[in-house]
């Protein structure tokens, strides 16, 4: 008898286990406790807007090198919002491929964020090492020309363009690498403007306007001169230098619309 009871209990447990997760009814929230945040990425070169494919060099570095940009793409991942009290919201499955040539890729619409007053925004430029080692991925991470197959891993940032100062007339900066000593994954928390918070409410969708300055890839800890630094094509010291440059200041939060 005792055994039968036990088995009955087990059978009951099995029934509860066999119901699919999808089928379980989700409680309908009576009060909306989440909101949205839009991150708008505004691509610039110093004080000028980024215009791709100019016929002649339309930008100048502080060192005096002239250049134009043909391709600018990068990954933003693992977005995290932190409240004043230190509690955080970590966006699940947080991967975005931003392409300067694709307008819709420059708006990151974050949904289902718990309401609250957020005081900092953190994200990774590139893709975490786990996703570099887990085989083929979907969505923004589906293998494309932002993926190295001969030395597996994502290209975190791609900047290509032309410069009369480059020996070949062109430069190709492909930054990636997730293993020591050439780990180019960088996580940044660009400061919010003074006295500004991201106020997430059920009926407010704040817009965070971020300036993304291409010039910061070429300046910072390492001054890039196209004559002697025309490229990076693989995980290595050059990629790490470029990553250190762009981590130091490519992203700047310009202003936040409360909406």
């Amino acid at each position: 008898m005792k055994i039968s009871s036990l088995l009955l209990a087990l059978a009951a447990m099995a029934i509860s286990l066999t119901s699919c997760e999808k089928e379980s009814s989700e409680p309908t929230p009576t009060v909306a406790t989440t909101g949205e945040v839009d991150i708008e990425l505004d691509h610039v070169v110093g004080a000028n807007a980024l215009v791709l494919n100019a016929a002649t060099p339309n930008y100048t570095t502080p060192s005096g090198d002239h250049f134009s940009v043909t391709t600018f793409r990068y990954y933003i991942s693992n977005i995290k919002l932190t409240k004043e009290d230190g509690t955080t919201y970590v966006q699940p499955n947080s991967y975005y491929l931003v392409d300067a040539a694709k307008a819709d890729s420059k708006l990151l619409a974050l949904k289902d964020i718990p309401t609250g007053d957020y005081t900092s925004l953190t994200f990774t430029i590139g893709v975490d090492s786990a996703r570099n080692m887990s085989g083929v991925q979907q969505g923004a991470l589906a293998p494309s020309d932002m993926f190295w197959s001969w030395d597996t891993g994502y290209i975190f940032m791609k900047l290509e363009g032309k410069s009369p100062e480059a020996g070949s007339g062109a430069f190709l900066f492909h930054v990636g690498g997730f293993k020591k000593p050439n780990n180019a994954i960088r996580t940044v928390s660009p400061a919010l403007p003074a006295a500004t918070k991201i106020l997430v409410r059920a009926d407010h969708s704040p817009e965070v306007h971020v300036k993304v300055d291409v010039l910061k890839i070429l300046t910072g800890p390492t001054t890039v001169r196209f004559a002697d630094f025309p490229g990076a094509h693989m995980p290595g010291a050059s990629a790490v230098k470029l990553a250190d440059n762009y981590a130091a200041g490519m992203f700047r939060i310009d202003h936040v619309h409360a909406n």
Binding site: L7, G135, P143, T152
Partner: protein
């Protein structure tokens, strides 16, 4: 009575558990898909069966892609062009292979077998996953010269592929994720575990080794391990086996790690089906197994990264091998030929 009840309850319980959250697609019995069982003498796989569960339609789609030259830029070269089944999916007789436009590659086409057990791919280990591996030859300018984007475009323009992919993945359009997942259905199915040696080690019928072959097996464990160890006959390490004094043409593992200590190191290949995978070494320089053993016996060249196992405390570099020993080793190596794998119609271009 009580006993019957208990049994019935237990059976009901099992049925309930089994009926859980199965997808609607028919679950194909494992044995109908090649390579969907795990050989009992093998270690645990790196790429578990649960990671991309083998299905018949998925396997057939992967096979179709593997043999489809449209995966190359000019429609001339398929995966199967340089990976021929009868040669354990190497390129028979080719030190290096020719891709699109007759361009030559730089390294010998490696065997595709037991990839489910492999952590790194390519001679330098640059590829870290069975699923993303095919993107390397597809996009190599001297191999298939394509982009994933363009392959996906071609597949989406083909109604037959559209149907087949939708049958497997239940969604459309076809994307690079589906392409590479489907290819892995085929490449992970290339299990070679039915050589005479396997029958011997699993105590199965037909598993008899001759005296010379047994002597060769003993010699192998003495002379060729740990490099060619385990039932996969490789420890999956990268080693410099003394082919050259300098490595200007191909730095091997150092190409990936950029460490000078890795110069001249290449992936240790499996010895399974080795009698059918000539020519040998990363550049295909040796035509026969005799030449390979002669290299180890008296051809090893010194260099800063030469493997310590080839530097005995006394005597010349390499491995001390008499001609009798070489003969015994080759006799054993021939027992690693898996005819069933090499001739399995299900793995062939025209099944």
């Amino acid at each position: 009575m009580k006993r019957t009840q208990t049994v019935l309850l237990a059976a009901g319980l099992a049925a309930l558990l089994a009926a859980g959250c199965q997808p609607d697609a028919a679950v194909v019995p494992l044995e109908t898909v090649p390579g969907s069982g795990l050989p009992t003498n093998f270690p645990a796989p790196v790429y578990g069966l649960d990671q991309n569960p083998p299905t018949k339609v998925g396997f057939e789609l992967g096979r179709k892609l593997f043999y489809d030259p449209r995966l190359s830029r000019d429609g001339s070269t398929s995966c199967g062009s340089c990976h021929q089944q009868f040669a354990a999916f190497t390129h028979a007789g080719h030190p290096v292979s020719h891709g699109i436009d007759g361009l030559l590659g730089t390294r010998n086409s490696p065997a595709l077998q037991n990839l489910r057990w492999q952590r790194d791919f390519l001679w330098d280990g640059g590829s870290n996953h069975i699923e993303t591996m095919p993107a390397a030859p597809i996009t190599s300018p001297v191999e298939m010269g394509e982009t994933l984007e363009n392959v996906v475009r071609k597949l989406n323009a083909d109604p037959e592929y559209q149907r087949h992919f939708e049958q497997v993945f239940g969604s459309k359009p076809i994307d690079s994720y589906q392409l590479l997942k489907a290819l892995a259905q085929f490449t992970a199915a290339l299990t070679s575990a039915n050589s005479r040696y396997d029958h011997y080690v699993r105590h199965e019928s037909g598993g008899t080794l001759s005296a010379a072959e047994l002597r060769g097996l003993t010699l192998l464990t003495q002379k060729c391990t740990p490099c060619h160890s385990t039932e996969l006959f490789t420890d999956n390490s990268f080693r410099n086996n003394g082919l050259d004094a300098t490595f200007a043409a191909d730095s091997g593992r150092a190409h990936i790690t950029q460490r000078p200590t890795d110069r001249g190191k290449f992936k240790v290949p499996s010895l399974r089906n080795v009698a059918r995978t000539a020519p040998y070494m990363h550049d295909g320089r040796f035509q026969t197994l005799e030449q390979v053993l002669d290299h180890y016996a008296h051809g090893v060249v010194a260099s800063p990264t030469l493997d310590p196992l080839l530097k005995p405390a006394t005597g010349p570099l390499g491995l001390a091998l008499s001609s009798q020993q070489k003969g015994d080793l080759i006799a054993f190596l021939n027992t690693l030929t898996d005819e069933q794998f090499l001739t399995d119609k299900r793995l062939s271009e025209r099944p």
